[in-house]
Every structure is written in C-alpha cells, then in structure tokens.
C-alpha cells in the first residue's frame, strides 16, 4: 500500500508567480496513493526540509514527490532529506515545475495544468520505485592532468603538494604552454618566463609529479575513482633517459629550415630541436617530416655528434596504461586562423602580424632577441597600429561570436611596453569597446592612454592595404564621425582565441560535453564551475572559456582542490541506478555489450533448468554494477527487452507516459 507525500515548492515567485501552487497541492491530494500534499515557499530551505522530514515520520510515508526545480539542482538535497528521516533515498521523485514549466510559460492556467500533470507523472513513477542501495568502489590515489600549460602546471603542483601522485600529459615536447611564449604579463608586467619557469622546474623536480611530454591521451576507460587511461608516447627519436639537453645535435643538424612553431613560425629551427632554452624536459626531439636521416636514410650527423648516445632513429610510438582516480582537462587555446579576414591583409603582408607573434618579437628569447623590428625588412617600426576584436564578437560566420576577453588587456600592455621602450613610436589602437573589468585592470588601460599617450580610436578597421611599402589602415573614427587612414609600419591583429583543436577528440573520449564553440561545458555555470557532468573529470583554463592567467591559475587551483577532495576518500558511493539483465529473456546476442561505452557488460554460460529434470547451458549477459554508469544505451538496444535500468525501468517510464496521456 503506497503512502505518498507531495511537496509543492513556490521557489519564492519563480514558480508561484506562474503556477497556482495551492491548486497543484490540492489536486495531487486526490491522486491514488497520495496521503499528504502541501505547498511551501522554499522547500530546499532548512524549514522546508524539516517540513518534509516531519511529514515522512508523522504520516509514515513510503515515498515522496517534490515539485520544484530541475533534479540536477536539488535531487541530491531531497534524497538526503528523505534519508535523514529514515526513507530510502531512491523513494524520492522530483517533478520539475520550474525549468520545464513556470520559467517557460506565461499563462497561469496552462502552467498550472502542466504542473499538475508533471506531478501526477512523478507520483505514477514512484508507485513502481523500489528502495535501492548504492554499492561502494575504491579510489585510485593518482590524478591525471591533460595539458601542461599554466593551468595544468598549477593543478598538478597543488595536487602533488597535497601528497597525491600526478601525471601530466603534454602533447608538445615541453610543458609551459602558451604562457611560455609570452613576454610580459598584465597587469603587473612581470616577465612571463620569470614567474613560469620556476613552476615548470618545480613540476620536474616534484617527487609526486611525472611528466609525459610529447604524449597524448589515447584511450580512456572506467569511471570516477577508477579511470584506466592509455597514454601514447609519440616517438621523439631521442632517448629521454640519456639526452642531457646539451644542444650539440642542434648546432650540427644540416636541415635547418623547419618553421619554429614556438616562435609562431617567425624563424626557423633545425630538424632536431629543443623548443626553448628552459624547456622541461630539456630533451631534444626530431621532426620526422624534416629529418634527412628519417626521410632518406642518409645523414646521421646528430647521432655521431651526440656524446650521450641518445639518438635512436628506430624509436616507435609507445603506449602506457595507467590508472587514475581523477582527471583534470587543461588543454588551452590557440589563436584562430585568419583565412576569413582578407581585409586585414595578414596573408599578403609580412608586417601584418598577430598579437602572439608580437609577443615573440618582443621577447628577449625570441627571433629578434627582443628588439622590435618589422618582419619584412628588420627595420624599427615608427607607426604601429593595433586592431582589436579580429574575429571576436563576430556572428557573421567568419569569426567567433564570443568576446575573447584577454585582448583589451594584452593590447594595452603591448602599447605601453612599446611606448616605454621606443618613445619615438606612434601607437594607435582601433577598438570597438575597451573591456577591462578586474582588479587594477582599468587603471592599467588608462595608464596606456594617460601616461603613455597611446592613441585609442573608437571604430573598426575596414581594410589594410600596402601603398609604397606603407601599410595603410583605413577605418572609422566614430567619435568624430570620420573615416581615417593611418600609414603604418606594423599592424598587429588582436586575434580571437579558440580552444585547442585536440579538445574535441578528448571530449568524446572522456564523454564530457562541449559547446558550439568547442569550449568544454562545466556542470553548473555558477555553482560548479570546474566540475563536468561526468564525475571525476574537472576543467581548468581556456578549454572551459576564455580567461587570462590570474583566472586560469585560480580555476586550476579550484580544480585541484576538487581532485584532492575526491582522492582523500577511500570509498566512493556508486550510483545504484544501473542496468541489470533478466537471464530468463536474455538471448546472449551481444548487442548490449557492443553499445556499452563503459565496458560494463560481460557474458557467462549459465546452466538453467528446463523442466523434466533437464538443464541447458545458455549464454547470458551480466552487468558489473561498479562499472555501469546507468546511461541506458543497453536497455534501448536489447531486442528482447531483457536489459532494464534500476530506478528508470521500462515499466516506470511507461507508467509515466500513461499518467501524461490520462486526462
């Protein structure tokens, strides 16, 4: 005999303004099985929860339906409430009358009617609920950090400092990421290398941190607390354990014309190279596309000159499988391609450069040793014009619809640094809006204008063209309602940033969601900013959204604290809403195992009695409840209906449909 309690929440005016909550609770009081039905202003508040607990005891309730917000918001809250009052937490159903009702309807009559139907549906499902008990699994006390930029480095150091092992997987030959390419950092103008390289060294020397450089995540299996990850170590043709980083190979390599990607292709590097002097690990790598020995079999100079005997032309990609309790994704960003923006002449003029290229040109370790020169002729530019929002805030399809967030600040930085070092240079900035929220940020930008006399022009550039060796920048000056043309020596494009392309493939491997701009989606925009919908996976840095270094570091530390909290547990409570096979109807067809993304289904040959004292052996599916994540793929695939999900059985779903259809 069911004794169901219904609790209708007003959510202040969020629900009550559009749904007649009184009518909902009154209507539900007459549903079969319902013995108690009330409404209250804030059901999730302490008073609201107390009201539920009291009712469970007073009316000896067998299950409860809470009509409130999305179960993603408060299902866990109300399950705890029920448990505290002695009820099995899986005897709780949520009717979402906020996101799926009050927020999307205007008409009170219609919304109320819908709320009643949703509540009835939850009651109908609840009549078939069974108490469920979650199993427990162990936790592998090791974390994986994917991406070795500042986000990955910060997360790894924090986790390792708490006493847990961390592996960093970095696709490039060195950790350091984009920050290693920068010259100075806003708003304090510290030298990027001076604050980053010590952290890189800390990573290398930390006894709990292990760096897989020039490596990629190949496969991911398992679940929170128990991930099994295959890491692909790309062949670098140099034995990491022997190479001392002396650089003799680089000076002797005869194939010197590879584009130096660390310097944004502004100069060249040999086929065997160490990306930059402070690289971690300080180990050379051979570019197989460029190496004469690997391409034609002739040469071998580096091997002959190497005192450590570290060169190995026969090296192959290798794979390691490691287990982890938690994963941090920190894959970073790249500037967008400018092929859709011919108007700025980037492809046709060497002296039209991106801001990241300017960073390398201004960096003491860059191709011009920190002297700002024009890439075309090596001359010092006297008029430099910056163009903001190149590809950002663009909904035409050419660029990205979002604001890249970091450009206003780095352009103010560039403008200031140039005016400081070369006071004879005129610096112009075409902008749409200057966006500088943040501690000491607007002051920083105003310093560029007031102290350094940078010429900010409100308006966008329409075209850049070459006239007698000068770059003519034609754009709007909206304040004066004029069209201006500035003859410039160097044009710098504040290019939009986008997530590193590797993130798409990774999102599939980790089953984490990704938005239309390829940013990874956090579990809750406000309250779960570093968590994913997939338990045990956390986000840090630009892979989640555009952000600068201070924000990235803060988010990385936040992700680390979540990982530490997880690894500190010895046991994790599983999800009891998992699949199970009915052995009587299972035909052993294997279709469920094929669709299972978690590898939770195996088969066994079992003996069954078939009457007359006889038995027969049949192949039947068996689900490992510790591995199953309850996604339901097997239940919809099973042709014989033998697979079912605890808590979401086919019978329960049909009962819901019935309740919706009933008038």
């Amino acid at each position: 005999m069911h004794r169901i309690g219904v609790f209708v929440c007003h959510c202040g005016s969020n629900i009550a303004a559009t749904v007649d909550v009184e009518r909902v609770s009154n209507a539900l009081a007459h549903e079969p099985g319902v013995v108690h039905s009330v409404n209250y202003q804030y059901m999730c508040s302490e008073n609201g929860q107390q009201l539920i607990k009291n009712a469970i005891k007073e009316h000896n309730l067998s299950g409860i339906v809470v009509c409130s917000c999305s179960p993603r918001m408060h299902e866990a809250t109300f399950r705890k409430t029920a448990e505290a009052a002695g009820l099995n937490p899986y005897m709780v159903e949520i009717a979402n009358i906020r996101e799926q009702c009050s927020w999307i309807h205007k008409d009170v009559e219609e919304a109320t009617e819908k709320a009643i139907v949703l509540a009835r549906t939850a009651v109908a499902k609840l009549t078939l609920n069974k108490p469920l008990v979650a199993g427990e699994t162990g936790v592998t006390k090791r974390a994986l950090v994917i991406g070795g930029g500042i986000a990955g480095i910060q997360a790894a150091l924090d986790i390792a400092d708490a006493g847990y092992e961390v592996d960093i997987v970095e696709k490039n030959p060195t950790i350091g990421g984009r920050m290693a390419q920068l010259d100075k950092t806003f708003p304090t103008l510290d030298c990027s290398a001076c604050i980053l390289t010590p952290k890189m060294v800390d990573c290398a020397q930390h006894e709990k941190i292990n760096i897989y450089s020039y490596s990629e995540v190949d496969k991911v299996k398992g679940f929170v607390g128990n991930f099994k990850v295959t890491i692909k170590k790309k062949a670098r043709y140099v034995d990491e354990t022997k190479c001392t980083g002396c650089g003799v190979c680089m000076t002797n390599c005869p194939s010197k014309k590879g584009l130096n990607s660390f310097n944004m292709d502004l100069n060249t590097r040999p086929a065997i190279y160490i990306p930059f002097a402070q690289a971690i690990p300080n180990v050379a790598v051979i570019d197989p596309e460029q190496c004469i020995k690997l391409k034609s079999g002739k040469c071998g100079l580096c091997s002959m000159k190497c005192g450590a005997n570290a060169i190995d032309y026969k090296q192959q990609d290798s794979f390691v499988e490691r287990e982890y309790g938690a994963i941090v994704v920190a894959t970073g960003f790249k500037p967008i391609s400018l092929e859709n923006f011919n108007e700025y002449g980037y492809a046709d003029n060497k002296d039209v450069i991106t801001s990241l290229e300017l960073e390398r040109l201004m960096n003491a370790a860059g191709p011009s040793k920190g002297t700002l020169v024009r890439p075309s002729d090596g001359e010092h530019p006297h008029v430099i014009t910056f163009i903001q929002c190149v590809g950002s805030r663009d909904v035409s399809g050419c660029g990205k619809p979002y604001c890249s967030k970091i450009c206003c600040m780095y352009t103010a930085k560039h403008a200031m640094l140039i005016r400081e070092k070369y006071p004879d240079t005129q610096v112009n900035v075409f902008y749409i809006d200057v966006r500088t929220p943040g501690k000491n940020y607007d002051e920083f930008y105003r310093r560029a204008v007031e102290q350094y006399g940078v010429n900010y022009i409100k308006g966008m550039v329409g075209k850049v063209y070459n006239e007698n060796g000068k770059l003519m920048v034609q754009g709007s000056n909206l304040i004066d309602n004029e069209q201006v043309t500035i003859a410039s020596d160097l044009v710098v494009l504040a290019t939009a940033i986008e997530p590193d392309p590797s993130v798409k493939d990774l999102a599939t491997k980790l089953t984490i969601s990704i938005d239309t701009n390829n940013f990874l989606t956090e579990a809750h925009a406000k309250l779960k900013p570093v968590e994913c919908a997939t338990a045990g996976v956390y986000l840090a840095g630009v892979c989640q959204g555009p952000k600068d270094i201070p924000e990235t570091v803060a988010q990385a530390s936040a992700a680390a604290s979540k990982v530490i909290g997880l690894l500190a547990k010895d046991k994790l409570k599983g999800n009891p809403c998992v699949a199970h096979a009915n052995e009587m109807t299972c035909t052993g067809c294997s279709q469920c195992a094929e669709v299972c993304p978690y590898g939770a289904i195996t088969y066994e040959n079992k003996e069954f009695r078939i009457g007359g004292g006889k038995t027969e052996k049949r192949r039947v599916a068996s689900v490992n409840p510790a591995v199953c994540q309850g996604c339901g793929a097997c239940t919809v695939t099973c042709p014989s209906g033998a697979m079912d999900l605890h808590g979401f059985s086919s019978a329960q779903i049909l009962k819901e449909v019935e309740a919706i259809c009933k008038r």
């Binding site: 035409s396 749409i432 966008m460 909206l478």
Partner: protein, 128 residues
C-alpha cells in the same frame, strides 16, 4: 503615409535586424563612398533603429552610395547597412513619383558575381 507607417515600411524593406549592430563602425571604415556621404553607412543603421524617418528620407547619401555591398560583406554582426540605404532610396524614388523603375526594366541575372541589388540601385539612381 504617416511617420509610423513609413518607419514600419522602411524596416520591412530593409529586411535586416538593426538591433544586432554593435556600433563598431566597420561598415563606415570600409565604405569607398564615405567622404561624399552626408549620412554615413553606420548612421543609416542607427537612425533606423532610432526611428528617425525624416532624417533618413532627407539624406543625400542615398545617391552617393555605390551599392558595392562592402558594408554588408564586412559587418561582423550580419547586419546589412546597404539594405537600409536601398530601402530609403526606393522610398524616396517612389515619393518623387512612381516606382522609378518597373519590374520589367530590371534585367535577369547578368552575372552571378554581380549582386542584383547593385543593378537595381543603379537603375534607380541613373534612370532618366
């Protein structure tokens, strides 16, 4: 036609959402006829958004606009300033008597690279 109806008609004829404009000025930054225009391309968009019909209809710039559609091509927000200009031009031509151009006078597609709007607007401007 009163002001409200005129405005409604201009919005309809423009067939572009002026509220998408983020006032970046890229249209006017690119416009080759900018210097000759009394009202600039970005102002056409803004004035329509503000409902300033009289000012729009009094503009001389409609006869300077080349209908080259560079403003449309370059707009990062998918707004079409040239559409607004063409709407004003058509309206003024009709107010001056007739349509200024009949459907039969408009040639079929001459070259797929030449926007039809350019031909139509050329007829409006130079038809004797």
């Amino acid at each position: 036609m009163n002001n409200d109806m005129q405005l409604k008609s201009l919005i309809e004829m423009s067939a572009t959402d002026v509220r998408k404009c983020m006032k970046c000025g890229k249209c006017s930054g690119r416009c080759p006829a900018f210097k000759e225009m009394d009202i600039k391309p970005h102002q056409f968009v803004t004035l329509l958004g503000q409902g300033k019909v009289e000012k729009l209809l009094a503009s001389k710039a409609i006869w300077n606009c080349l209908s080259c559609l560079a403003c449309v091509e370059r707009c990062p927000r998918g707004v079409a300033p040239a559409n607004v200009i063409e709407a004003v031009r058509t309206t003024v031509a009709r107010m001056q008597g007739g349509d200024g151009i009949t459907a039969e006078e408009i040639p079929a597609e001459v070259n797929e690279m030449i926007p039809q709007q350019l031909l139509v607007s050329a007829f409006r401007k130079y038809k004797k």
